[in-house]
Symmetry: C2
């Protein structure tokens, strides 16, 4: 073995020992409250990726879309192949600048939340995705406190993912895992349009 390889092995053995100790120190299993926020891409997409992972284990997933109506057609079509495991509730009527009607947006948000509350109480479901809920919260279409209470009262092993920009500080405080997606570089700035399979 060369000197470089010996050094590499020693370094990696040390790293593995640290890694193993770290893994051993983590013993808690719990349903996580996950928040994907920030201005970058990948908030909803990562939530759908988690859904895919979960159904790979034969576990049930429920998705409520608070804002997007016509969007997300690609993943909805694909997930239809798992209709034994996935339920899809598209409750939003589009972005709030599309409807231009605050009362209608509030009513749609309330209907979506009523559905979400039922799902959050169902012990059969392993993962509930509340897609773009942060948008409804940001415009104060829904109060945060009853939502946090319902999430806290969910059956223990259930994971919950909430997506959307501008997550409220109280939601971040309650969450177990918060990821901020930031756009280091975005193709829209270079004049590239929304394309099938990428944006929708």
């Amino acid at each position: 073995m060369s000197e470089d390889e010996t050094r590499h092995r020693a370094k990696m053995a040390k790293r593995k020992a640290l890694q193993d100790a770290e893994v051993a120190a983590k013993t808690i299993e719990k349903g996580l409250l996950i928040v994907n926020t920030g201005p970058g891409k990948g908030k909803s997409t990562a939530a759908f990726g988690l859904a895919l992972r979960m159904i790979g284990y034969g576990r049930k997933v429920a998705i409520v879309q608070f804002i997007k109506g016509a969007w997300a057609t690609g993943e909805r079509t694909a997930l239809a192949r798992f209709d034994d495991l996935v339920t899809f509730h598209t409750m939003g009527e589009g972005f709030t600048w599309e409807t231009q009607d605050k009362s209608r947006d509030i009513a749609a948000s309330q209907r979506a939340w009523a559905t979400a509350a039922t799902l959050l109480a169902d012990p059969e479901i392993a993962l509930v995705i509340l897609d773009e809920l942060n948008i409804a919260l940001r415009y104060d279409y829904l109060p945060l406190d009853p939502i946090l209470a319902a999430i806290a009262a969910r059956p223990h092993p259930m994971h919950v993912v909430i997506t959307g920009r501008n997550a409220k500080p109280a939601l971040i405080a309650a969450a177990d895992l918060v990821t901020e997606m930031s756009a280091t570089k975005h193709h829209f700035a270079a004049g590239v349009k929304a394309q099938q399979g990428i944006e929708f």
Copy 2:
């Protein structure tokens, strides 16, 4: 209509006009080079979410995993239901601190890249995911230049996603879309272990 609602409608009409003008200004359609990097969660998961979206339109996806071997079993099982559309190439033998063998890691990376190069030349494929390629690049297991050349020479409409921490500056420079995932809050810090459906 109340005064608040009238104000809301005016504000949203203005926002919609801006939004529509912005959308109209974007006319370019092209295969994107997408990079998901940063220390936070969701880099690979968002890539798998994009795969799901793409297969929803009946388009082909190929995934090469450069590092993870035993991991990603959930999404692999789920995507097996789409074996008409998705090919999965798990070429890595685990994290480099697991193998502790630099020559073996380099050989595995080279095999993975040979497979990736073939896929990047296939005009039938709509999306190629090079999962954790950034790790192999970071340890200099593979040179970046031939990879950038192969990506640049790919059939025009193909999208490519590269994931992993510490994306190289030259890769970021070449990319159309770069998202940095940062961990605002992470459950591992609170002693929660890796769980089925969330981490693997």
